[in-house]
Subunit: 160 residues, 2 copies
Amino acid sequence: MSSSSTPAASHPPLASDVDLLRLDHQVCFSLHAASRAFGGVYRDALKDLGLTYPQYLVMLVLWEHGPQPVKVIGERLRLDSGTLSPLLKRLEVAGLVARERSAEDERSVTVRLTEEGLDLRERALPVPLKILSATGLSVEEVLSLQRLLGRITTSLDQAH
Amino acid sequence: MSSSSTPAASHPPLASDVDLLRLDHQVCFSLHAASRAFGGVYRDALKDLGLTYPQYLVMLVLWEHGPQPVKVIGERLRLDSGTLSPLLKRLEVAGLVARERSAEDERSVTVRLTEEGLDLRERALPVPLKILSATGLSVEEVLSLQRLLGRITTSLDQAH
DNA sequence: CACAACTAAATTGTGCGCAACTCAATGATG
DNA sequence: CATCATTGAGTTGCGCACAATTTAGTTGTG
């Protein structure tokens, strides 16, 4: 928010606005593109399991932390009920999870894995290595990428 | 499986399957989360312009390269007609672009900016700096992130 | 010339992401 | 105790991503 008291503020270009537009284009595009490229590889790797990429994320959370309310899943994945409700319904229809109202708090719905959902974990074990090798990165590079992305996400979330 | 490793531990621990599942979770999640966090900040920055994030990408391409066929836009952004056709229709309704069939090749549709679309560039100039500062990164870090993401995307696209 | 193969857009259908809203249960306040 | 604000899920609506299909125009081959 710059104070522009003058109507036709002549603003001397810094690194040239055009360059910044280009840089911006490339930053947002490269992240966008990488995210979608991951999506494509996950789609292949998860086809056998009958899972989409976000559904796989939910399953990972359930495999790792066990039964938990929708709210907690949403916090872990930063997804709201508008996304999770229909997604969980699909997982339920697929027979992988069960949902039941909590006894203490009738507003809360606890999501738990079914036998089938638990069993799916075995078949999901080869997935991470497939993805890792598809990236062409070393484990160290992946970890540093993670850290960088984490920093960015934190900053962006604060700005938002 | 590999959980019977000896605690001799003169070497760095190799990732167990469980660790790989966790790592995978974190990698895909952090990229997914970062992409969505960017989306949120762009949403704010572009609200005044009446553009969504992908629409902004299309406008950037048009601002930079001028009139071009849908196919070329798709190649630059790695988007297919299933995404671009309705998106371009919305930009057309908004009065920012015009579409016309090419004379030489009747299959091709050339997209060009309207006066209004060209003028919008001025108002878009502040956006990149807003985004850059929201990331909390230096220009150098952004550039190296871009290179890394580019490498990943290339690898992933080849695997796909 | 006729016909098959190919190409560019558009369309259809499914799922995700998110804002805005509804609804029921809970908690807080007077 | 009655009322109001808050909370957790769910629903609706819009836009994007992508696979699969359709349509129309182009190119290649006999």
